[in-house]
C-alpha cells in the first residue's frame, strides 16, 4: 500500500493436496466391474440414453485430462474449454472441408491441441496458483470470440458453426449410429485411460508429482521443472482435444457458443467432485456435470444454478476429496461389515 513497506516474505501454501501414486487408480476387480457395466448397459437402453452415455465418456476424458494437469502436476486450468474447442474445430474442419475419415481426425486434433497447450504452457510457466487460474480463465472467455473472427470464417463457419455428419457403423455391423459411436468412444477412452495411468506411473509421472508436491525439491533432484510443466499442459490439452473431437462428432455440430467459460467451469467442477488426482473419479465427475444440472432443474427450474452451487459447497465441506473419499469410506464400511 505504500512504497516504504518492506518486502514481503511468502512461503507458498500447497496449491493441490498430494495424492500418492498408488491411490490414483482402481484395483483390477473394480475396474473390470465398471468396464463390464460400460460395455453391457448400452445393449439394453434407448438411443437417447446411449447418446448421453457417449457424452459421459467424452466429458470423463476431458476431466481426466484436467486431472493429469492439476492432480498430476499441480497446475490449475479454468481454460480447458479452449482446448476442447480447438479439438472439436480441428476434427470438424478436417471432416467437412478435407473429407477425412472421422477416426483419423482424432489423433490430429490431439496433436494440434498438444502443440497449442504446450505453447500456452510457456507463458503459464511463470504463473502459479491463482495467476494461472486467471490467465486460463481469460483464455476460456476469449475463445468464443476468437472462433467467431471474420478471418477464419471460411473454415469455421463463423457464428453459424459447422455441421458434422455422424458416421455409420462400418463393415455393415447391425448397430445404430449412436451405438457404434458409443463403442468407438469407449475404446478410445479406455486406451487413453490406460495410457494416462501408465504415464503417471512412469518417470514423467513421478516428475509431475514431484513438481506438484514441491517444486524446489523437484528441481534440486534434477527434474527439468519448465519442461515437465509445459509437457503436462501439452498432454492435458492433447487429451482434451481428442475429447473435443469426439464431442463434435457425437453432437454433430460445432459453434463458438458451445465452448464458453461455462464448459471450462463444468470440467473444473467435474474434477473437484471426482476427486483431484484420482483418475477413476473422472467418470464420477463427468456424471455430476451431465446429470446434476438436469436434477437441479427438476428441483427448481429457475434455481438450477443455485442448486448446482449449493451441491458444490456441500461437496467441498463434507467430502473435500470428492468421489475418492466416498470410495474409501465405502471400502472401510465394507471391511467392517465383513468382520461382523
Amino acid at each position: 500500500m505504500s512504497a516504504a513497506e518492506e518486502v514481503e516474505v511468502v512461503t507458498e501454501g500447497q496449491a493441490v493436496e498430494a495424492v500418492p501414486k498408488r491411490a490414483m487408480t482402481l484395483g483390477y476387480g473394480t475396474s473390470l466391474v465398471v468396464l463390464a457395466a460400460l460395455v453391457l448397459i448400452p445393449l439394453f437402453v434407448k438411443n437417447f440414453i446411449i447418446f448421453q452415455m457417449t457424452m459421459l465418456l467424452i466429458y470423463a476424458l476431458a476431466v481426466l485430462a484436467l486431472n493429469i494437469l492439476t492432480g498430476g502436476s499441480g497446475q490449475f486450468s479454468l481454460g480447458q474449454s479452449a482446448f476442447y474447442a480447438v479439438g472439436a474445430y480441428t476434427s470438424a474442419i478436417l471432416m467437412e472441408h478435407a473429407g477425412m475419415n472421422y477416426a483419423l481426425t482424432l489423433p490430429i486434433a490431439g496433436i494440434v491441441c498438444f502443440g497449442f497447450g504446450f505453447l500456452f504452457g510457456q507463458p503459464a510457466l511463470r504463473l502459479s496458483g491463482v495467476y494461472l487460474a486467471l490467465a486460463t480463465f481469460a483464455l476460456a472467455t476469449a475463445m468464443p470470440q476468437l472462433l467467431k473472427l471474420g478471418y477464419f470464417e471460411h473454415w469455421t463457419g463463423g457464428v453459424q458453426g459447422l455441421v458434422v455428419t455422424k458416421p455409420d457403423a462400418p463393415f455393415g455391423l447391425p448397430m445404430s449410429q449412436d451405438m457404434w459411436l458409443y463403442y468407438f468412444t469407449l475404446v478410445v477412452s479406455i486406451a487413453i485411460y490406460v495410457a494416462s495411468v501408465n504415464l503417471l506411473r512412469s518417470r514423467s509421472g513421478r516428475a509431475f508429482m514431484a513438481i506438484r508436491d514441491n517444486e524446489i525439491a523437484a528441481s534440486a533432484m534434477g527434474v527439468d521443472v519448465a519442461l515437465y510443466k509445459t509437457l503436462a499442459f501439452g498432454v492435458s490439452a492433447g487429451i482434451t482435444g481428442v475429447a473435443g473431437g469426439l464431442g463434435a462428432i457425437a453432437v454433430q455440430f460445432v459453434a463458438p457458443d458451445g465452448y464458453t467459460i461455462q464448459l471450462a467451469i463444468s470440467l473444473f467442477l467435474g474434477m473437484v467432485v471426482g476427486g483431484v488426482g484420482w483418475l477413476p473419479g473422472s467418470i464420477v465427475g463427468s456424471a455430476f456435470i451431465i446429470f446434476v444440472p438436469n436434477i437441479a432443474e427438476g428441483i427448481s427450474k429457475g434455481l438450477s444454478g443455485a442448486v448446482f452451487g449449493v451441491l458444490l459447497f456441500l461437496v467441498i465441506f463434507l467430502v473435500p476429496h470428492g468421489a475418492r473419499q466416498v470410495a474409501i469410506i465405502a471400502q472401510q464400511l465394507a471391511a467392517k461389515l465383513k468382520k461382523n
Binding site: E5, V9, V10, A138, G309, V310
Partner: protein, 292 residues
C-alpha cells in the same frame, strides 16, 4: 492528433468502469490472497438490491447508502459462513468455492429479477461534460467517485488503527497475531469492504452497461486485467491500470484495422498474459520475494 486526444479521453471514460472493478478485486486480494471470481456477481447483486430499493420509492442516495451498508454486511456474512472454514484448504478448494458462489448468486438474481435488461438511473445526468461529446457528466462523476474512493482507502490504510491492523494481518499474519490483532476478523472486514466497493462499482457501471444478471462478466475480465496491470498489491495501481486499460482498448480499436468490438475479450486476455509474463508484479505493485 485530435483523434488521438479524443480517443484517450473516451478511453479514460470507459477506463473508469474497469478502475472501479479493479479496486474491488485488489481489495479482496489484499485481504485473502485470492482473486474472487464471484466478485462481479456480488457487485451485480448489490446493484439489483439498490434498483429494487429505488423501485420501492427510496431516493437515489438513500438507496446508495443502504446498498453499500447491505453489501458490507453481506460480504462479512459470506466470509464467516462459507470461506472461513476453507481458510486452511488448498487454493483449488477455494477456487471451487468462488465458482459455486458465482453460480448461486447469478441464478438467484436471475430468479428474483429475471434476465431482461433494465435501465438504471444515474445521479449525475448524462448530458455532455463541459461541452465535450466524448465524456458525459455520468462518466465524469464516475471518475470522481473512483478517485474519491481511492483517497478514502488511502487515508483508511495510512492513518487509522484498523487500516494498519488490516495491512499487518495481510502481510505477516503470524506476527500480527502475536501483537494482538484478530487476523480472522481482519479478513472478514476485507471481504466486507471489497463487497461494499464492488457495490459502488456496480451502481456506477449499471447506467453504462445496463442492469442484468450477466452484466459483469466482461467487466470482471477487464477489471482483472486492470488489477494485474496496475499490480495486485496496489489500490492506486489498480485504478491507474483501469484507466490505462480503457485507453489501450480504445487506441487499439482506432489504430489497428480489423480490431473491433468482437475482439474485446481476446485483447484483455493478451494484456493479462503479457503483463503476467513480462512484469508479474504489475506497474505499481511490489515484487513478491519467495523464501526458499
Amino acid at each position: 492528433m485530435e483523434l488521438f486526444a479524443n480517443q484517450v479521453l473516451a478511453g479514460i471514460a470507459t477506463g473508469a468502469i474497469y478502475a472501479c472493478m479493479a479496486l474491488a478485486v485488489v481489495m479482496i486480494y489484499q485481504a485473502i490472497d485470492h482473486l474472487n471470481f464471484a466478485q462481479g456477481e456480488m457487485a451485480m447483486f448489490s446493484t439489483f438490491v439498490s434498483w429494487q430499493l429505488m423501485q420501492w420509492g427510496v431516493p437515489y442516495w438513500g438507496a446508495f447508502v443502504l446498498t453499500v451498508a447491505f453489501s458490507f454486511v453481506a460480504g462479512i456474512i459470506i466470509e464467516r459462513l462459507l470461506f472461513k472454514p476453507l481458510a486452511k484448504a488448498p487454493i483449488l478448494t477455494n477456487v471451487a468455492g468462488f465458482i459455486a458462489l458465482y453460480a448461486i448468486i447469478n441464478s438467484v438474481a436471475g430468479l428474483i429479477w429475471d434476465f431482461t435488461i433494465k435501465q438504471y438511473p444515474t445521479p449525475f445526468g448524462s448530458s455532455p461534460f463541459l461541452g465535450s461529446q466524448l465524456i458525459s457528466t455520468h462518466q465524469a462523476g464516475m471518475i470522481g467517485i473512483t478517485l474519491l474512493m481511492l483517497l478514502l482507502l488511502f487515508f483508511f490504510f495510512r492513518f487509522t488503527r484498523v487500516g494498519l491492523a488490516m495491512r499487518a494481518a495481510a502481510s505477516l499474519p503470524e506476527s500480527a497475531r502475536l501483537v494482538g490483532i484478530n487476523t480472522s476478523w481482519m479478513i472478514a472486514l476485507g471481504w466486507g469492504m471489497a463487497s461494499a466497493i464492488g457495490s459502488i462499482a456496480g451502481m456506477m457501471i449499471a447506467p453504462v452497461v445496463f442492469l442484468e444478471p450477466n452484466m459483469m462478466l466482461g467487466v470482471l475480465i477487464y477489471g482483472f486485467a486492470a488489477a494485474v496491470l496496475g499490480g495486485l498489491s496496489s489500490p492506486f495501481g489498480a485504478v491507474m491500470g483501469g484507466f490505462l486499460v480503457g485507453i489501450f482498448e480504445n487506441l487499439v480499436g482506432t489504430y489497428i484495422p480489423g480490431v473491433g468490438n468482437e475482439l474485446k475479450l481476446p485483447i484483455a486476455l493478451a494484456l493479462i498474459i503479457v503483463v503476467l509474463v513480462v512484469k508479474p508484479a504489475g506497474l505499481f505493485g511490489r515484487a513478491i520475494v519467495k523464501r526458499v
